[in-house]
Point group: C2
Chain length 181, copies 2
């Protein structure tokens, strides 16, 4: 029985995804298991600027750390240690039995958004892992376009909950939804 409890304990605490880990100089360590976090939503070809009809559309998948997700379900808020992953993937149309539409192919970019009020002046920071073998990343400057757009337009805190359909009713019920703007 004691063995069973220890196995359960290991399963419960084993993920390295409970929060951010930092290396030298405050660089964020790549969270290799973000695909095992909670999926929030996908988009295809989304853009906040001019629509680029020239390039092929790309998919974006958004994941959040499981502990932060459980906290959000209870409170409608993101605790310190929350991490979001934005994974960008190529879109393809022709393969196997598919005849139309788009499905996902290789990874093209990975960005991580971290809440850590003790560490970042604005509470949140962005990190980009441009190469798939990149293990450390420095935060974007607090004046980055990402930071300013999220601070100005995030429906909850600095996050785009307006695009995550399962979280919208939670935030509304908890009174943390600022609206879509």
């Amino acid at each position: 029985m004691r063995g069973a409890l220890l196995v359960a304990l290991t399963l419960a605490v084993a993920p390295s995804t409970s929060g951010p880990r930092y290396g030298t100089d405050g660089q964020l360590v790549r969270p290799d298991d973000y695909r095992e976090w909670i999926f929030l939503s996908s988009g295809l070809g989304m853009t906040y600027g001019a629509v680029d009809k020239a390039g092929p559309p790309r998919f974006d998948n958004v994941f959040v750390t499981p502990a932060a997700y459980r906290n959000f379900l209870q409170t409608g808020s993101w605790p310190d240690g929350t991490m979001f992953a934005l994974e960008v993937r190529a879109a393809t149309s022709q393969g196997s039995i598919n005849r139309g539409g788009h499905y996902q192919a290789g990874v093209q970019a990975l960005e991580i958004h971290v809440k850590d009020r003790a560490r970042f002046a604005k509470g949140w920071a962005f990190f980009a892992f441009d190469r798939t073998d990149q293990q450390l990343a420095r935060p974007f400057p607090p004046t980055s376009r990402c930071q300013e757009c999220h601070a100005g337009h995030g429906a909850v805190d600095e996050t785009f909950v307006q695009f995550y359909p399962t979280l919208i009713p939670v935030a509304r019920a908890r009174g943390t939804f600022k609206g879509e703007n």
Copy 2:
């Protein structure tokens, strides 16, 4: 300390997602927490038949039970008790700061694919939860289009691993990838 172990045990075994649950007459109980399973991929407007240019495209999100996913990473195969969820969502384009492309809106359909060789003659069965308040579903007949297409075209067992980019290299390495056909 004993309290901490019990909390950990509860966290580890709480999800009802370790495998299928059946009600009366062998109906599948709706797995309410499929959004907390492992996300495999999304598509937009995918079709296996004639391309329908009339209707608006829809997103599909695919999730698999965590225990089955961990087994697949080790073996490249799906154990009995594996459940896939195919969630179909409406696509929308205009909202908040988005200017182009598509993002996800409300749920339109939910289908569950279960492997249970002791229960189903062909090893796998499909179930549809057409209404969001539907709690039980009967299996499709073994001659359904879903079943025959998955049996004939699935890259691994009766599943469309050819559309799940993170699983393709696993199946190839384990020798279970039958090819895209």
